[in-house]
Symmetry: C2
Subunit: 212 residues, 2 copies
């Protein structure tokens, strides 16, 4: 089933998961597709269509059980897998990512941070130790992480990814502008291009309808 889910629906899954979590926090136990659509800015029929891809958990006249639906979506995402992830690049961005994200709630466990700067080795960010990049092969042999977060300069992208790939890491959360799939077409890659997002804001300001 999962192989046939349209890409756009997959893209929205985390958003559903997030909204349902917020509903749950405000004590809402069930919700109609109409109500959910208003909150999420989607149409009710789109929501029903989306959720149908996962077997459709709504009941006529009752709506969706929020907790159940969230749990089901969490399972489809694989939140419970706790994939081991390492972070490479303990600069400002790397530190912010390590400290800001709640990895456990998003399907991951941050097991180590690597940097090429020797001065950072031994430091702790939250509870996670920073290690020198030269020790990465040994670490991976012992701990077999599934994924890596790349908070490195674009120019270092290829060398670092190659090393990680050789260590068995095939999935990447990529904050650099290095195009991983150019060289590693089978890698699982999720890119975060913050500067693209900033330019979209710029476009939308430039082209907004001016209200008089």
């Amino acid at each position: 089933m999962k192989n046939n889910i349209p890409k756009n629906v997959i893209k929205r899954l985390p958003r559903y998961y997030r909204f349902l979590g917020m509903l749950l926090e405000s004590g809402i136990e069930r919700i109609s597709s109409n109500d959910l659509s208003k909150r999420m800015g989607l149409t009710a029929s789109q929501i029903r269509q989306d959720l149908n891809h996962f077997g459709g958990f709504g009941q006529q006249g009752y709506g969706y059980n929020v907790e159940q639906l969230r749990e089901n979506i969490g399972e489809i995402i694989g939140i419970g897998n706790s994939f081991k992830v390492i972070l490479v690049g303990a600069g400002n961005l790397g530190r912010a990512v390590a400290q800001h994200l709640n990895f456990e709630k998003r399907g991951f466990k941050l097991v180590a941070i690597f940097d090429s700067d020797e001065k950072l080795a031994g430091m702790k960010i939250n509870e996670t130790e920073v290690r020198h990049f030269s020790t990465i092969a040994d670490f991976c042999k012992d701990n077999m992480p599934t994924a890596a977060i790349l908070c490195i300069p674009t120019v270092a992208g290829k060398t670092v990814t190659e090393e990680l790939y050789n260590c068995g890491i095939k999935a990447f959360w990529n904050f650099s502008h290095y195009n991983i799939t150019d060289d590693f077409p089978n890698a699982v890659v999720e890119n975060v291009h913050l500067s693209d997002s900033l330019m979209r804001l710029c476009f939308n300001i430039t082209n907004r309808e001016e209200t008089p």
Copy 2:
């Protein structure tokens, strides 16, 4: 013209801009839609279609002039506008955003950083001063920033946005999970939901085709 550009094309504009910048840096002066398509992972016909929305700058048998095309796209995005932007929330994420992004190259000028922690007031991040949030109204009256970057906790979202809106700021680069358009339907909003992106990676790892 610009009002009729499909949303998906707009979403790709920054990517075109970024790729063309990289081509320029490697000394490539012109490129065919075929070559560009290979680099960007789009089809050549999609590229031609996309760029047609902006009048189509390619020449038969010659391809696109990289510098010209990049300049044109930059103009459409509004890179040259240098919109004044302030950042609210000088925690880890706010600091990383302030330090990591090259605002000038993305259409903005970071003019001030605000935080509610008095201990941070006076500090400088890169060249930009951190000010206490209580001084924001005066600052906005004098400097009239166009946009705000929200690196604040979700619970503070509504109060902070309301204050900023009253100060004349109607455009937001939002890193929190507060849903700005619920309360301010006319705001220009670009959301960065890092945890959604992390969950998409989780989904893709969970559901990848296992190679034997």
